[in-house]
Amino acid sequence: MTLQHMERPVGIGTHEGTERVGAGGLGMDFQRLTVRTTVRIISRYGVLLGFLALWQAAASSGWVNAAVLPPVDMIVAALWKGLAGGSLLGDIAISLQRAGLAFAAAVIVAIPLGLMIGQVRAVETALDPILQLFRQTSALALYPVFILLMGLGEASKVFVIFWATLFPLLLNTISGVKEVDPKLLEMARVYGARRLTVFRRVVLPGAVPSIFVGLRLGATTALLLLIASEMIGANKGIGFQVMNAQYNFQIPLMFAAIVILAALGLIANQVLVSLQRRLCRWNDPAS
């Protein structure tokens, strides 16, 4: 490769455009790029920013009671104090531990069990009625039972989260296995694939997108149950902080804890989405 070749711009889109135009046109091109970026940000986050602006205006101008709905800047300040000062970090850690432990246990139990139920007819027939019964019974209604059985400590909290997370994971894994195209299974059989090979090379990869739906639902459920369990009989944790701040009328702190919860949910979802992108490149229209 000669130097001349290397100097030629290889970028695409606007980047290539800016390199081609002379110094005179660069400013204008840059301007257009800035405008386009701004338009993109506004079209995506405009409503969210408007909502926050409205909140700020309503709270600081006295349209709503600022003691109940504190202005956004006070919430941000409380959040910053809690994070930078370290007072909320311990709560985040214990909450992550509870939710993480329960979620991991649910994954370890639900995915292998779901794969088996989806594959083996007899297992499905035997387990389906009890699964339907458990699924329709609210985990929150069972929480007092778990507390009776395991006490008011960590065990019952982790277990109630585990319990609720189990079902979206299990049901999505089962349906992922069962919805694998029978024509593909037949194709694999024609080529002489044995049962285990069919499972490993056709059923499992085919079920992955559905399993990810389960993982994302499961993560949402885990955070939901985390808060509920921390509102009863806890003295640490984000859910506890929401309740506690409300009792003590530290409303900005209460909202700060709520913001942290929302952030945890967003992060968990984003992690799973990017993991799915990596595992399912074949399914990604962008690649």
Binding site: V190, G192, R201, V202, W282
Partner: protein, 256 residues
């Protein structure tokens, strides 16, 4: 050419084969004591009205369905279930969406325990044979219908079958693609010594490809007919003898 050439095509003998389905409580016979010998290396095309059992016959040959009575033997061995001496090309490409073109074509060999490297070497040869060398790393969803079907054909060729079973493989393609794929199948068949058994509802396709056309009867007690297609290859669709065969087959169907 050592990578694809096969020593010989398989020989199929069908004896007293029968199959019926129960439909709304009634037994509906689709195959009645069928007897047929398929010669090694020939191209037999099965035609027949819908419901005449042509796909059922092919699926029994593939080992995907069991007959009610009678036997199918390949090279003297009785067929029970699927077997590695046969490969099937379906009407749909049936590609695994999570494997690249290369992965899909190598799949048949890999599930039989051929090492990945060896399987991919043979797969690449056949991908080139169907004209998709540049698309070896593409995902199935990026391919057109015709390209996807070519991948299915390359996958079948890669396992070097003695018998290639084709179930309306070009049925879902547009007219132009269909004609070029028919030419491609004719070329593949003449280069390999593989025995081809193909189901189609396209009479012109049957005449273009077949040594013999098997016409399955529509009516209950009709007889199975075999028509020899005695035309030089490559065949010319506009030639008068080609057109006469077409008329003859239409008469078999009672359409003229």
């Amino acid at each position: 050419m050592s990578v694809t050439s096969i020593t010989r095509g398989g020989e199929v003998s069908i004896r007293d084969l029968s199959k019926s389905f129960s439909l709304g409580g009634r037994q509906l016979a689709v195959l009645r004591t069928l007897n047929l010998d398929i010669r090694p290396g020939e191209c037999l095309v099965i035609v027949g009205a819908s419901g005449s059992g042509k796909t059922t016959l092919l699926r029994i040959l593939a080992g995907l369905e069991a007959a009610d009575g009678g036997t199918v033997s390949i090279d003297g061995r009785k067929v029970e279930g699927v077997g590695t001496e046969r490969a099937v090309i379906f009407q749909e490409p049936r590609l695994l969406p999570w494997l690249s073109v290369l992965g899909n074509v190598a799949f048949g060999l890999e599930v039989r325990g051929v090492p990945k490297q060896e399987a991919e070497k043979r797969a690449r040869f056949n991908i080139a044979l169907v004209g998709l060398a540049e698309f070896a790393d593409a995902w199935p969803r990026q391919l057109s219908g015709g390209m996807a079907q070519r991948v299915g054909i390359a996958r079948a060729l890669t396992v070097q079958p003695e018998i290639l079973l084709l179930d309306e493989p070009l049925g879902a393609l547009d007219a132009m693609t269909k004609i070029s794929m028919q030419e491609e199948l004719a070329r593949i068949w003449s280069e390999d010594n593989v025995t081809m058994v193909m189901v189609t509802h396209d009479l012109e396709e049957a005449i273009y490809l077949a040594n013999r056309v098997l016409v399955l009867p529509k009516e209950k007690n009709g007889a199975v007919r075999l028509v020899d297609i005695d035309l030089p290859r490559p065949r010319d669709r506009s030639e008068s003898r080609f057109v006469r065969y077409r008329e003859q087959l239409l008469r078999e169907f009672g359409l003229t």
